[in-house]
Every structure is written in structure tokens, then in C-alpha cells.
């Protein structure tokens, strides 16, 4: 059967919704599912509900971090911690030079480990960047949950761009990337980092991408990737604009999208 001709009925569609949401279907099934969703409002609604549920879990289900004492408790219980103290005097005498090597390697490891710990402690304190990432992510999740992706729903950039006029003191570039596999779905206004921002909504396969854009005084920068609770975020600065792209797309796909916008934007 040709991939293009393969049609899915409602029953089959429902059976594949969950795997489609997780990007775990092969290309021909994904295409068929997509085609069916475009033509069937009931199934589309069911898909949105499923997507909302998934976003809801990711946003609200508590992730239980281990308490601090557990790592120590685990390390204490390992046999090495007991035996190394007991056995080391007996093992050591002849191999002086290697022992010194092992020791210095150990020191290197230990300092690397300490560095790792201090870096992660540093990361645990929310930086302004991290705070912003949280805001961007919250906005993306909210838009999925309440099915409020766009205020102006159009794939025509000549409709989307004028919609922002008069609502903002800057004018965003609006480009449709349908031919590259990222069709423009619409746009909305949002409020982030104490200012109005543009959100352009794109789609890739079954997944939404929110692209946040607002002016900045910062210099141009390369792509930076952040991962947060199953969502990927790519951010960069180009021509006086701050860009944040967020999606639950696979990281590679989102990077492709970001590079595309970076080139055309």
C-alpha cells in the first residue's frame, strides 16, 4: 500500500492517538493519523484532550527528588566503602609508583566530582535565564491545556503579521515554513519578562511549537538548548530580537526549526 493512499478510520485513529502524541508511529501511520485528524473534528477533539492530559501531568505531577541523605546512605552501604578501609593497608606495599598514579587519578576524579557538585548546586539556584525558561514553558503548557494556542488562527503570514499591528511597539518577522515541514498555525500575544511578546505558533507533524519573540538590547548569539520536564527549549538572539522556541518535539527537530528561523528571521 502506498503511504499517500493509506487512510485511517476513526477506530484506528483512536487506537493510535496516544502513540502519535509520543512521536512513536512510523512515517506512514503518522501521515495517515494527521490526515484523519484534519478531516475529523471528533478525533481532533480527542487528540487535544489527550495532549492536554499529557501537558497537565508534566506540569503538575510531583517529581519526587531523593532527599539529600539518601546519596550518603547509599554510598555508605556499598561494600567498597567498608572494604577499602579494611583492606587497603594489606594491599599496598610493593606498588609505589602505580599507587601514586592511582592516587593522583583519584584526586582528579574527586575534584571533578566536586566541580560537578558545585556546578549542579549553582544550577539549582534559578538564574534569570532559568526563571525566563520557566515562564516560557508555563505559557506553552497553558496554551496546550486550555486549547488556546492562537488568537489569530491563520497560515497566511499576511493575515498574522497585521494582526499584531497596534498591539505592540515592535513588528515581528512572520514567516511560514510549510515547505520545510513547519507550517504556521497562527499567533497570539503573551506577557513575559515584564513585557508584551509575540508568540508565533507552528506545527510539525502532530506537535505544536511556540516561538516567543521580543526585542532585546543584547548582541546576537548562537543557539542554546535547555531541557525541562520533557520539553525542549531553544533560545537565541538575532538582529535585536530575543527568540525562544519551545515544544515537546524531539530535540533534533526543534533545532532544525530554530536554525530555519535563525536563517530567515
Amino acid at each position: 500500500m502506498n503511504a499517500e493512499e493509506y487512510a485511517m478510520d476513526c477506530q484506528e485513529c483512536r487506537a493510535h492517538l496516544s502513540a502519535g502524541l509520543d512521536q512513536e508511529l512510523d512515517d506512514s501511520k503518522t501521515q495517515a493519523l494527521q490526515n484523519h485528524l484534519v478531516s475529523c473534528a471528533n478525533c481532533r477533539q480527542a487528540y487535544m484532550a489527550l495532549q492536554g492530559l499529557s501537558a497537565h501531568i508534566r506540569a503538575h505531577a510531583p517529581y519526587r527528588d531523593a532527599r539529600a541523605h539518601l546519596a550518603a546512605r547509599v554510598m555508605d552501604s556499598l561494600p567498597a566503602q567498608q572494604t577499602s578501609v579494611r583492606e587497603s593497608p594489606a594491599q599496598q606495599p610493593p606498588a609505589r609508583a602505580p599507587r601514586w598514579n592511582a592516587l593522583s587519578m583519584g584526586t582528579v576524579f574527586a575534584s571533578l566530582l566536586a566541580l560537578g557538585v558545585s556546578v549542579s548546586l549553582y544550577l539549582a539556584v534559578p538564574t534569570p535565564q532559568q526563571q525566563l525558561a520557566n515562564e516560557v514553558l508555563a505559557s506553552h503548557v497553558r496554551s496546550l491545556q486550555v486549547d488556546h494556542l492562537s488568537d489569530v488562527a491563520s497560515s497566511d503570514r499576511h493575515t498574522v503579521k497585521p494582526w499584531f499591528n497596534g498591539k505592540l511597539d515592535f513588528s515581528p518577522q512572520v514567516v511560514d515554513y510549510t515547505t520545510e515541514g513547519f507550517p504556521l498555525i497562527g499567533g497570539r500575544l503573551d506577557y513575559l519578562d515584564r513585557q508584551n511578546v509575540v508568540v508565533l505558533v507552528y506545527r510539525h507533524r502532530l506537535h505544536s511549537i511556540n516561538l516567543f519573540v521580543w526585542p532585546t538590547a543584547s548582541k546576537d548569539s548562537g543557539l542554546r538548548t535547555l531541557d525541562q520536564r520533557g520539553y525542549h527549549i531553544v533560545t537565541w538572539v538575532a538582529r535585536g530580537m530575543n527568540y525562544w522556541a519551545v515544544s515537546d518535539l524531539a530535540g533534533d527537530d526543534l533545532n532544525t526549526f530554530a536554525r530555519l528561523v535563525q536563517q530567515h528571521g
Partner: protein, 177 residues
Amino acid sequence: MTEVEQSRRFQTLVLPHLNAAFNLARWLARSDQDAEDVVQEACLRAYKFFDSFQGQGGRVWLLSIVRNTFYSGSVYRKTQAQCVPFDESLHDYAGDMDSSASGSPERVLMQRDAARQLEQALEQLPLEFREVIVLRELEDLSYKEIAAIAEIPIGTVMSRLARARKLLAHLLLQEAK
């Protein structure tokens, strides 16, 4: 490899996944104390079998040991003894995700104590469904990785996750009523 080196390697490769290990154990065991016991036992096992670890995919490797430790241990037997078997046939939830109920999930999501309700609903899910939801939504693992951890075929991951989501939506709707 000396014991000291092995212990260092273990610290660098396995301990970074301690939070993931605890999170899974906590969702399975539903108590902090039991979860810590499971994680400690699992880490001991992981340390014992550390030679078989390839150095790649430490999180998946550790999670599969955590899961195994949980199912083979006393915590699991204890929870099974307390637990009334969940009879899916008694719960008619086929229509929950349909358009007929389309307004309801939104109403649920808007509730202020949505997080608490979600936690309760997740804890009510039968184990086999709860674990695939946790691995997929909280750990963001692929079906292949979940299949490796839960020791089931990928097709089963697919159908189990679909049913788990249906069931969870149903439980959330019930709580909202």
C-alpha cells in the same frame, strides 16, 4: 579495577540518576520510607553488577534495577496484600475521551487543586499503568527505553500507555464530579 576506582566510577555514572531512581521507586511504593529502602537495595545490586554496565544509558539501566528490586521485594508483596484488584470491566470509561465529554477535562484542569487530584488519580492507577505513565511523562523516556525497563515488548508499551491515559482521564473526571 580497584574497589576505590569502582566506587568512584559508580559515583560518577550511577549516582547522578538517584533522583530518577527515587522518583520511580516513590511512585511505585507510594511511601518515602519504602522508596528509600528500594533505592538503597537497588543501588547495592547495581554496584554488584556494575561490571555488566556498558557505561551508556545509566538512567535506564538503574531504573530497570529499581523496578526489579521493587517487584521482587517485600514492599510489593505488602502493597499487593492491601490492594483490591482493579477490575477494568467495572469501569466504563470508553466515552470519556469522546467529544460528548469534551468540556469536562477542561473543567477539571481549571480546578485549583488540580495538582492534588492528579497525584491522587495517579496513585490510584494500577501499578502496571502507573509505571508506564511515570516513565513516559515524568522521565520522558522513549517506548524502546520503557520496554527495556518494564521488560515488555514495544507494542505492549504502546497499548498499555494508551489504556493508562484513558483510565487516568476517567479517574480525573470522577474526582471532579
